[in-house]
């Protein structure tokens, strides 16, 4: 009789009065919800919901990782950069401008195996003629003119576009070649856009 009463009580008690199930911490609950509610579409597959090493540490430190850890991981990222075999880091700035303007690539509305762009103007001021520029990142206007365009600066710019996290672990800038969004030639052309003295950026 008591057992039946207990069962009836459990069955009819409103959910709010039931003892709470062992609650996940919010992060675990969030990741569980994302895995449950999101679906793959086009080239945006479910692996992209899983944090990689860099995302994991940045997510757990509010993008402010301890300095010693950041430096070591930045070095790891730098070691992973594949530099051009021909040793040339500077391409064609006219192509670079087109690549900077192009915001396509890596979304579920982009076709597979089609070259995308760098979306650079989404975040940066770059050339003098383009007024439709974002301010999420710093202005790159007159970059080569003010910073120089020698071999060291070419290496920095190439590396930064290839994998921005090699220089600042939790930077908001995507890791364009690391993730396969931009090709070697495309990065060379963007380097030219910023550093070539003939580029409008430096006029």
């Amino acid at each position: 009789m008591q057992r039946l009463a207990a069962l009836l009580l459990a069955a009819t008690a409103p959910a709010i009065l039931a003892p709470p199930a062992a609650a996940d911490d919010p992060r675990t609950a969030a990741v569980t919800a994302l895995q449950r509610d999101f679906k793959p579409r086009g080239i945006a597959t479910m692996n992209f919901l899983v944090e990689d090493g860099v995302q994991a540490i940045c997510n757990r430190t509010d993008d402010k990782p301890p300095k010693e850890i950041a430096q070591r991981l930045e070095q790891d990222q730098l070691a992973g950069i594949r530099w051009p075999a021909d040793g040339k880091l500077v391409g064609d700035w006219k192509s670079g401008e087109r690549i900077a303007q192009n915001g396509r690539g890596m979304t579920w509305s982009d076709p597979a195996n089609a070259p995308g762009g760098g979306s650079c103007y989404n975040c940066h001021r770059i050339g003098p003629q383009e007024t439709s520029f974002g301010t999420i990142g710093p202005s790159l206007f007159q970059f080569g003119k003010t910073r120089g365009s020698g071999p060291d600066m070419q290496r920095y710019v190439y590396g930064k576009i290839y994998n921005a996290k090699a220089f600042s672990l939790c930077s908001q800038m995507p890791r364009f070649d690391h993730v396969g969004a931009l090709s070697e030639q495309q990065i060379k052309d963007l380097v030219a856009l910023l550093l070539d003295p003939g580029s409008p950026v430096n006029k």
């Binding site: 409103p14 959910a15 709010i16 709470p20 609650a23 919010p26 992060r27 609950a29 969030a30 990741v31 919800a33 994302l34 449950r36 509610d37 999101f38 679906k39 793959p40 579409r41 945006a44 597959t45 479910m46 992209f48 919901l49 899983v50 944090e51 860099v54 995302q55 940045c58 997510n59 509010d62 993008d63 890596m106 979304t107 579920w108 509305s109 103007y121 989404n122 975040c123 001021r125 007024t131 439709s132 520029f133 974002g134 301010t135 999420i136 710093p138 202005s139 790159l140 206007f141 007159q142 970059f143 003119k145 003010t146 910073r147 996290k165 908001q172 995507p174 890791r175 993730v179 969004a181």
Partner: protein, 278 residues
């Protein structure tokens, strides 16, 4: 009329000169007010006077009252949180916990729930093509626009009294700051600081009320690009697309959590009603 104004705005934009920035300059001022932004704000003010969103509010009102679906019932017994059929003020008190479903629900999610349970519509069919295009506005979009309009001028006040509501906020906050995807973006990458914009689109900072409301108050919104009526379900979907994430389910609980975070962060600010966008 709209096209003429669009041409005027385009001409103004070409003529506008941005504030020159020295290379390597540090952070721009708290709210970027260069000539480009000023022109867009003027453009928006002109169009807010006659907002096509009002037509969708009227359509939504009609859909609310009309008996429809396999059960041939209206939505007039739908409980949006303030009691069956109470629409006035409901939108600004969402998302909230509902005892009948045992979970926190946002406006459009609750409206779809009512369409399914009261009218007999099929949830999967509603989720198949849930967003507007140039030729079609789904019924939940029009109804959500109507419901939102009935909270015009009221203060945003989603409850945080139940543990489930507080949990939804906490989970929403985690999602907001969760960096992932091919570009390592979280919502915070764009919406976590003052004074940022993407191209010429201002990006309100969702972590504080005076900024969060600048975005929250514009949805549902009539978007002139394409002439379409969109709700926050569309806006979040398109954000995740541009974040290079896979696709969130329509009216799924992950989005409810995120909407709870946004609504609670807009608390106390006045909701101006369905807005208009470029």
């Amino acid at each position: 009329m709209t096209r003429t104004l669009a041409l005027c705005a385009a001409a103004a934009l070409v003529a506008a000169a941005p504030v020159p920035q020295a290379a390597g300059q540090t952070k721009p001022p708290a709210v970027e007010r260069d000539a480009t932004t000023e022109e867009f704000e003027k453009f928006r003010a002109v169009l807010e006077a006659d907002n096509p969103a009002e037509l969708f509010e009227l359509r939504g009102a009609a859909l609310w009252k009309t008996p429809r679906g396999p059960k041939n019932a209206s939505l007039e017994r739908c409980d949006l949180g303030l009691g069956p059929g109470v629409v006035k003020g409901a939108y600004v008190q969402l998302p909230r916990y509902f005892a009948d479903t045992g979970k926190v629900m946002d406006a459009e999610q609750r409206i779809v729930h009512c369409m399914v349970t009261l009218q007999g519509f099929d949830a999967a069919a509603l989720a198949k093509q849930p967003f507007s295009n140039e030729t079609r506005t789904p019924d939940p979009v029009a109804i959500t626009t109507f419901v939102a309009g009935q909270s015009r001028g009221m203060k945003i006040a989603p409850p945080q009294t139940r543990p489930q509501e507080r949990e939804a906020y906490a989970v929403g906050r985690e999602i907001f700051f969760y960096r992932a995807g091919g570009y390592d973006f979280s919502c915070a990458s764009c919406h976590g600081e003052d004074g940022k914009r993407i191209r010429t689109q201002q990006l309100p900072n969702f972590t504080r009320p005076e900024e969060a409301i600048r975005s929250y108050q514009g949805w549902p919104g009539y978007r002139m690009t394409g002439g379409v009526m969109h709700t926050l379900q569309w806006r979040l979907n398109d954000c995740f697309r541009q974040q290079r994430f896979p696709e969130p389910g329509y009216v799924s609980d992950s989005l409810t959590a995120l909407l709870t975070y946004l609504a609670v962060n807009s608390k106390g600010q006045v909701y101006k009603g369905p807005g208009i966008k470029r």
